[in-house]
């Protein structure tokens, strides 16, 4: 595989992971979506994870259907909840203990520096989805240096805490597995850092 191919593939993975973190909805959570997720897990040897998701989806629904189960759990984990929201998907909440903290501003500045802008309809710059979308765009540009710097400065510093909370508290395996996948594709390895082109 060429470097460009690899980058493009990584870009697709990031983009897919961003999609996985959208609010669950029939419009995109189709059979094909789950087939693609299964395929990714198969390639990673994630049999157990795959089965856990399918078991939960096929099991009795707590609400009207399995998508509504996911929606209720998404709301509880990431939006508003009683007792309280588990893991707000915004970096500032972990770094600045607030939404729209300095961290969000710095994240936006980094996007700009790399020649990207936030859409008017976008969520806050430091939302997990946008950070993954941005990584996808950098990978598509084959900007390995930028990708590594972004992961180091703007992604990993808070994602670890987010991930721990989701894994510990999610009552649906889907979110645990997705968070696990994000962790897998973004974590630092040994002392080498993230190697796009390991050749």
């Amino acid at each position: 595989m060429t470097t460009t191919d690899t980058s493009e593939n990584i870009s697709s993975v990031y983009r897919f992971l961003a999609q996985c973190m959208e609010y669950p909805d029939q419009s995109w959570m189709s059979d094909n979506f789950f087939l693609a997720l299964d395929n990714l897990l198969d390639n990673l040897g994630g049999q157990t994870e795959k089965e856990s998701i399918h078991k939960a989806l096929a099991g009795p629904s707590k609400y009207t259907d399995s998508i509504e189960d996911l929606q209720v759990e998404y709301t509880r984990l990431f939006i508003n909840a009683r007792p309280h929201v588990v893991a707000p998907p915004y970096g500032s909440v972990y770094i600045d203990k607030s939404l729209q903290g300095k961290f969000a501003g710095d994240t936006l500045a980094f996007y700009r520096e790399k020649g990207f802008a936030m859409d008017d309809s976008a969520d806050l710059p430091d939302h997990l989805i946008h950070e993954l979308e941005f990584l996808s765009l950098l990978a598509a540009d084959n900007d390995q240096e930028g990708e590594e710097l972004f992961l180091k400065k703007f992604f990993r510093p808070w994602f670890r805490q987010f991930h721990q909370r989701v894994v510990a508290e999610s009552q649906h395996p889907y979110f645990q597995v997705v968070s696990q996948l994000i962790d897998f594709f973004t974590k630092e390895e040994d002392n080498d850092g993230f190697q796009l082109n390991p050749a």
Binding site: S12, Q19, N32, E68, P88, L99, R112, E133, F184
Partner: protein, 746 residues
């Protein structure tokens, strides 16, 4: 859980391609980030945005926002303001933390769990509004418009409140700012002088300030504090009647450590002394009062000695206060207070304040009660319709008279709650809570829970989760005061001694609303469309409402922006009394309705043995529970220590800083704990705490269970007979330490 590959290995293999290719087919086309022209760093959008109007409390100071890249960095007072000026208080500053509080409501939520113990699911606005419309229609169809009750609060709740009251046609609207706060002050003054008094005392230019319970300093409203401090600086004397050594008592020349509930007796004695000793303003009484003789006759029993015994204060001190007031009349500021729903005898106390001001001739004079002449700006809302008295719970159909004829606008909370729980005279099955937190504003929380539980439908609109939003079926996220157009603040320069000026300052957004938060006009109009009232919609947006209002004063949003957020114009001299101004020392209408025609003292129940009376008041850095989850404000004052007299504490073995809980005489326990503040600055027969702590909603990650909720302990209900407003200081408590309930020594 772990995948059986390392990532590096995976990226090296052909598996990556096999896994990645199908992924791109199942993602949506749009992303939140797109390619943009390259830009230099550090030049993005640092700006000062004008037009902010604070609503961390109701005072509404004028603000500017320092905004970077659409992110509000800091709030400051608008330097152009002739009201608060460049100053804002701690709460005003902390508005940034409210705006970006991670616990704030973000999307419409549907409760798929139980009322009181909700499980939330994010839903679309379409679904949320359709559900609210359907459910409210069902209530109206089955029970009539009066089957809907509304608990509104704040600037954003006016428009929806008018919609439900005027257009849908329910009388069952209860505002906490009236029935649990200032309503009785306003109606008592209207019955006495024809005017609601506001807090319009000319403190900077007075010779004596007279406060009953008012605790400026802990009760912080910027321009009001400026007026008070200026008055003190100018040498005004300060008289403070308060069972507690409040921030104002600490600055007082005379601190009257009065027994709670007896303030009317105290003022009757002062007034009787002024009359008996010919120390009242003859000219004012002759030309601007009614019923002096009946009034004098009615209060003559109130000798200094009698009041001294009733109020537990020295007779000589009452005389000293009366003489000080008389010597400086008419330039004396008799403060009308604000939160005055204390004992259920409050109408009479407020009447007494208004009459005392009259006896001293202290209306429309320098240093007295002076309503500054502000600019006229028209409001736009739903058209008024007459909905008759058939379903007005405050109207006694048999006697063809109002039960509480001096009720403020709306219906007294207790009448609504009793009707909802009993189903008599009719069912109330729909509930709209808009910006109010009736769990922590209306006494007796168990009763409020019963009200919610028997509803067919409950909807709440708020910016934050509260103890009330736990009971919603549908919960809608509202844009905050920093994210919307809205209220037009108007007034005059803060010190009436300075050049007379008027200002007009509309609220304009400092930043865009985040997530899917919407404003009150959008939400209300969408409900109206679904409830068959589309043709009556008065404005399409808050911006249009603001434009129309400004146009009535010959202004526009563009012009206000060009004028840095505040329009200033020449003002008028406020020190001239309208010719027909009259103080009804004796009010015939009151007497005809079966109430005392002259101010009358009505004793409140004494403290039972072993208990202390529970008093509460304002904290300088909090606006009740509304600000309890604010990180900055929480850090400034995390809990509300309970004040206990030092001798009492000594007998109970309590030390400063001890942790205690509280239980009331009806067996209701606080549930949470707080610390003890041991002080000689409180009477032995009461304890005191700041109001607005101990929220129970676990969604408040900062504020939950911090301190004690005094409101939870207010379970004995009293209603002021004239106004129907709640009496909230007739509850008695004991402290609990290490599980042991402590009998309070007498």
């Amino acid at each position: 859980m772990a995948f059986n590959l390392t990532r590096r290995k995976f990226l090296q293999t052909a598996s990556l391609a096999a896994a990645a290719v199908p992924l791109s087919k199942v993602v949506s086309a749009e992303t939140g980030i797109t390619k943009a022209p390259l830009d230099a760093m550090g030049t993005h959008g640092d700006q000062t945005v004008v037009g902010g109007i604070c609503e961390m409390c109701f005072w509404r100071c004028q603000l500017v926002g320092k905004v970077r890249d659409g992110r509000l960095m800091k709030l400051e007072g608008n330097p152009k303001s002739i009201d608060n000026g460049a100053a804002i208080c701690a709460r005003g500053n902390a508005g940034v933390k409210l705006l970006y509080d991670p616990d704030r409501l973000k999307y419409p939520l549907k409760n798929v769990g139980k009322r009181g113990a909700p499980t939330w699911k994010r839903i679309s606005w379409q679904e949320a509004l359709d559900t609210c419309g359907d459910k409210l229609n069902q209530v109206v169809d089955k029970y009539g418009a009066h089957g809907i009750s509304v608990f509104p609060h704040g600037a954003s709740a006016k428009y929806p409140m008018h919609y439900f009251e005027r257009t849908v046609g329910t009388h069952n609207v209860s505002e906490a700012s009236f029935f649990q706060c200032r309503g009785v002050r306003d109606t008592a003054y209207i019955a006495t002088t024809g005017k609601a008094p506001g807090e319009k005392v000319d403190m900077p230019n007075t010779k004596v300030m007279f406060f009953i319970g008012t605790h400026i300093g802990e009760n912080v409203h910027v321009s009001h504090v400026k007026q008070y401090i200026q008055g003190l600086q100018n040498g005004a004397k300060l008289i403070v009647a308060d069972p507690r050594f409040s921030a104002s008592a600490a600055k007082a020349d005379i601190w009257v450590q009065i027994k709670p509930g007896t303030d009317t007796a105290y003022m009757l004695a002062i007034m009787n002394y002024l009359v008996q000793n010919d120390k009242y303003d003859h000219d004012f009484i002759e030309n601007h009062s009614y019923g002096f003789e009946e009034f004098s006759e009615a209060i003559k029993e109130w000798t200094l000695e009698k009041a001294a015994a009733e109020c537990d204060i020295p007779a000589a001190q009452i005389k000293e206060v009366a003489d000080l007031l008389a010597a400086n009349a008419p330039n004396v500021a008799i403060h009308p207070g604000r939160h005055v729903t204390w004992h259920g005898n409050d109408f009479q106390r407020q009447r007494a304040l208004a009459c005392l001001t009259g006896l001293l001739g202290a209306y429309y004079v320098k240093g007295g009660w002076v309503p500054a002449k502000g600019p006229k700006v028209k409001g736009f809302s739903w058209k008024n319709h007459d909905h008759g008295t058939d379903y007005n719970l405050n109207y006694n159909q048999e006697e063809e008279a109002l039960r509480h004829p001096y009720a403020p606008p709306g219906t007294p909370s207790e009448l609504i709650r009793d009707c909802a729980i009993s189903g008599k005279p009719y069912p109330i099955k729909g509930c709209v809570v808009w910006g109010q937190n009736p769990m922590q504003t209306i006494p007796n929380q168990e009763k409020m829970k019963q009200v919610f539980m028997q509803m067919d439908f409950v909807m709440c609109v708020d910016i934050m989760p509260t103890d009330a939003t736990l009971w919603a079926d549908i919960l809608l996220p509202e844009a905050s005061y920093l994210e919307r157009y809205d209220y037009i603040k108007k007034g005059t320069q803060w010190n009436l001694a300075e050049t007379h000026q008027q200002y007009i300052a509309p609220r304009m957004p400092l930043v865009d609303p985040m997530f899917e938060r919407k404003d009150q006009v959008y939400i209300t109009n969408e409900l109206a469309k679904r409830m068959g009232h589309a043709s009556e919609i008065p404005v399409k947006s808050l911006e249009e409402m603001t434009e129309k209002s400004l146009a009535s004063a010959g202004l526009s949003i563009a012009q206000i922006k060009a004028e840095d957020g505040i329009h200033i114009q020449p003002g008028k001299d406020p020190y001239s009394m309208p010719e027909d101004f009259e103080v009804q020392l004796y009010n015939d209408d009151l007497a005809d309705a079966g109430f005392p025609g002259a101010p009358t003292y009505i004793a409140v129940p004494d403290v039972p043995k072993g208990f202390a009376r529970l008093l509460y008041g304002r904290a300088p850095v909090h606006t009740f529970n509304r600000s309890q989850n604010n990180v900055w404000l929480h850090n400034a004052m995390p809990v509300n220590p309970v004040w206990v007299n030092n001798e009492v504490a000594g007998k109970l073995g309590l030390m400063d800083g001890d942790t205690v809980s509280v239980v009331n005489s009806e067996g209701v326990a606080s549930g949470t704990t707080t610390t003890v503040k041991v002080t000689p600055g409180i009477r032995k027969d009461c304890v005191y705490m700041y109001h607005g702590y101990g929220s129970t909603n676990p969604a408040l990650s900062v504020g939950k269970d911090q301190g004690i909720d005094d409101q939870k302990l207010i379970t004995i209900l009293t209603a002021d007979p004239e106004s129907g407003c709640s009496g909230m200081r007739n509850n008695f408590v004991k402290l609990v330490k290490n599980g042991k309930v402590l009998d309070m020594p007498a």
